[in-house]
């Protein structure tokens, strides 16, 4: 066993895990908010995230074709594409809710869930079809910016790229902004009221439909931002990109306590770190007997264990069941 190597990569693995974890946290927000309000696993959220990634790459590729990419400051461009990704994904999430979930409100819980799976599958192929017709390819690459790829060296074995820092900072900023929105504003209060008790909130004069749409808008926007950041960080996107991160992010949401914003962050980080360690270390520790692929098995096992032993998650509260 090469302990020196294990130790040497430790900081780097932590950094990898944090970046991944924040990504999961951002996606998890969409699941957590929708679940909090509608008790629905928005299965299509992983595709909302993926669409955000495609919005980013389309804008960048268009700018590249017109030569604008070099004329603007990369950070300005980044903020612009994040905002655009948020806008498109947010609106898409609202549309999905209107078309595929709202008509099913009040139906048994399985019904909207199945519809959500349908939306997820539909969107995957829709994007694939669109990109096939538009670019004759559906594996797309983010143009890279030298400024983002610059590496900051801390020690001989520890360095990280500027874009990793961007992902962490942007995610933190959005998480705090959202937490503020939900806990400190009137809108947030309305969202919490709808989550707690829809009929009562409605009696108190809250427009429940509007609040649900807003929840989807906010959750979708966070997913869209995550999609753009994902593309910038890993510079590749395809229509099926969303599926696995989506499930992982849902796991993160459950891990942290679904319906709980700080919980999404904690769950995302725990899962991201666990996964990074599993993928980087398993093969080294077992002499290649078990490889990086077992990281997914890790993630799902955690999901099962958490659901069985602590179904309310790490930060979740005990809630009274509605009988």
């Amino acid at each position: 066993m090469d302990w020196e190597l294990l130790l040497a990569i430790f900081p780097q693995v932590v950094m990898d895990g944090l970046v991944l974890g924040f990504m999961y946290a951002l996606i998890a927000l969409g699941y957590t908010m929708v679940y909090g309000v509608l008790e629905l696993i928005n299965f299509a959220h992983s595709e909302i995230f993926m669409v955000g990634g495609f919005v980013g790459v389309e804008i960048l590729l268009t700018m590249q074709a017109t030569g604008w990419l070099d004329t603007f400051n990369p950070f300005v461009i980044l903020i612009f594409i994040i905002l655009m990704g948020m806008a498109v994904s947010g609106v898409l999430a609202v549309v999905v809710e209107r078309v595929a979930y709202r008509p099913l409100r009040g139906a048994p819980r399985l019904i909207p869930l199945i519809s959500a799976i349908g939306v997820s599958f539909f969107l995957q192929d829709l994007v694939r079809l669109g990109e096939s017709l538009w670019r004759n390819a559906f594996y797309l690459t983010y143009p890279s910016f030298a400024a983002f790829n610059t590496r900051i060296e801390i020690a001989e074995t520890i360095d990280f790229s500027v874009k990793s820092v961007i992902v962490v900072v942007a995610s933190l900023a959005m998480l705090f902004a959202l937490q503020f929105l939900v806990t400190r504003t009137k809108l947030g209060k309305a969202i919490r009221a709808v989550a707690e008790d829809q009929p009562t909130a409605s009696l108190m004069g809250v427009n429940v439909n509007r609040i649900i749409s807003l929840t989807f808008l906010i959750g979708g926007a966070m997913g869209g931002a995550a999609g753009v950041l994902f593309g910038v960080q890993y510079n590749t996107i395809n229509p099926f990109t969303g599926f696995i991160p989506g499930i992982k992010a849902f796991t993160a949401a459950v891990l942290g306590g679904i319906g709980n914003i700080p919980g999404a962050m904690v769950g995302g980080l725990v899962l991201g770190l666990l996964e990074a360690f599993a993928a980087s270390y398993l093969s080294l520790l077992t002499g290649g007997a078990f490889g990086a692929e077992y990281k997914d098995i890790f993630a799902f096992s955690i999901l099962i264990v958490i659901l069985i032993f602590r179904p309310r998650g790490l930060l979740g509260e005990v809630v009274r069941e509605r009988t």
Binding site: D197, T200, E317, V318, V319, R320, T323
Partner: protein, 260 residues
């Protein structure tokens, strides 16, 4: 003989104590009622009796046997059946099917009997169906056997729920607001029916009721809960005069119902 006995039952939800140290006992062949303002913990107490909630402290015994920690279906097989405050029928199943589900625990068949359609299956299935039809007749739903539960009028749904509960073959029947939404006449009819159940089938009945007239008329004993605690207990006439009971009802009358 005491059929149902509870000692020091406590049930908490997070910071809220829904039932706080309630003692309760009910003798065989009697009708008792639990009353109290909304949110007093009546349904929660019911749920600890039927195993939907396990009490955080205290003990519940049915026929001398502790049921704490048993699953609701096990408790049902001990002879406890219930109805629900907000009618919980199997809406997309027919009337006869609803009643047949109630007999589930009494069907002694192996999987092979079902798949192989053995004589035992025919015998058991035939017996179940006959009994179900009898029960449907008893509650006055004859002729509606094939109707879907969700298509029944409200009153029929209440009757069906009782038939379904009777199908369990209970010694103790717990009814959660059985007259809710009924006219006074219908309520009276129902009470007569309950009396008949006691005399003909030797049942013991526990009610949660809001309809005071019904409660006072039918109950042998009345228990009053408020804020999860028992504030009074005794024969109807005595409870009616209890100062704390009057305060609990009138004092809250204006403030309206407190969630949850």
């Amino acid at each position: 003989m005491t059929l149902l006995e509870a000692r020091g039952v406590v049930k908490r939800f997070g910071g809220l104590t829904a039932v706080n140290g309630v003692d309760f006992s009910l003798d065989e062949g009697r009708i008792a009622s639990v009353i109290g303002p909304n949110g007093a913990g009546k349904t929660t107490l019911f749920n600890t009796f039927t195993g939907i909630y396990a009490p955080d402290a205290g003990d519940v015994r049915v026929g001398g046997r502790s049921i704490v920690g048993l699953t609701p279906d096990r408790i049902t097989t001990l002879g406890v059946a219930r109805t629900f405050q907000n009618i919980r029928l199997f809406k997309n199943m027919t009337v006869v099917e609803n009643v047949l589900v109630g007999m589930h625990a009494r069907v002694a068949l192996r999987l092979w009997d079902v798949v192989g359609h053995t004589p035992a299956f025919r015998r058991e299935e035939g017996r179940s169906v006959r009994q179900a039809l009898d029960l449907i007749g008893l509650v006055g739903l004859s002729g509606k056997e094939d109707a879907l539960a969700r298509n029944l009028p409200y009153g029929d749904q209440r009757r069906l729920e009782i038939a379904r509960a009777l199908a369990v073959g209970p010694k103790l029947l717990l009814l959660d607001e059985p007259t809710a939404g009924m006219t006074q006449g219908e309520a009276r009819e129902l009470m007569a029916f309950l009396r008949r159940l006691i005399s003909e089938f030797g049942l013991t009945i526990l009610l949660i009721e809001h309809n005071m007239r019904v409660v006072m008329e039918i109950s042998d004993r009345v228990t009053v809960l408020d804020h999860g605690e028992k504030i009074a207990e005794g024969p109807p006439a005595q409870v009616q005069r209890d100062a704390r009971v009057i305060e609990a009802y009138l004092g809250r009358g204006r403030a309206g119902a407190a969630a949850p």
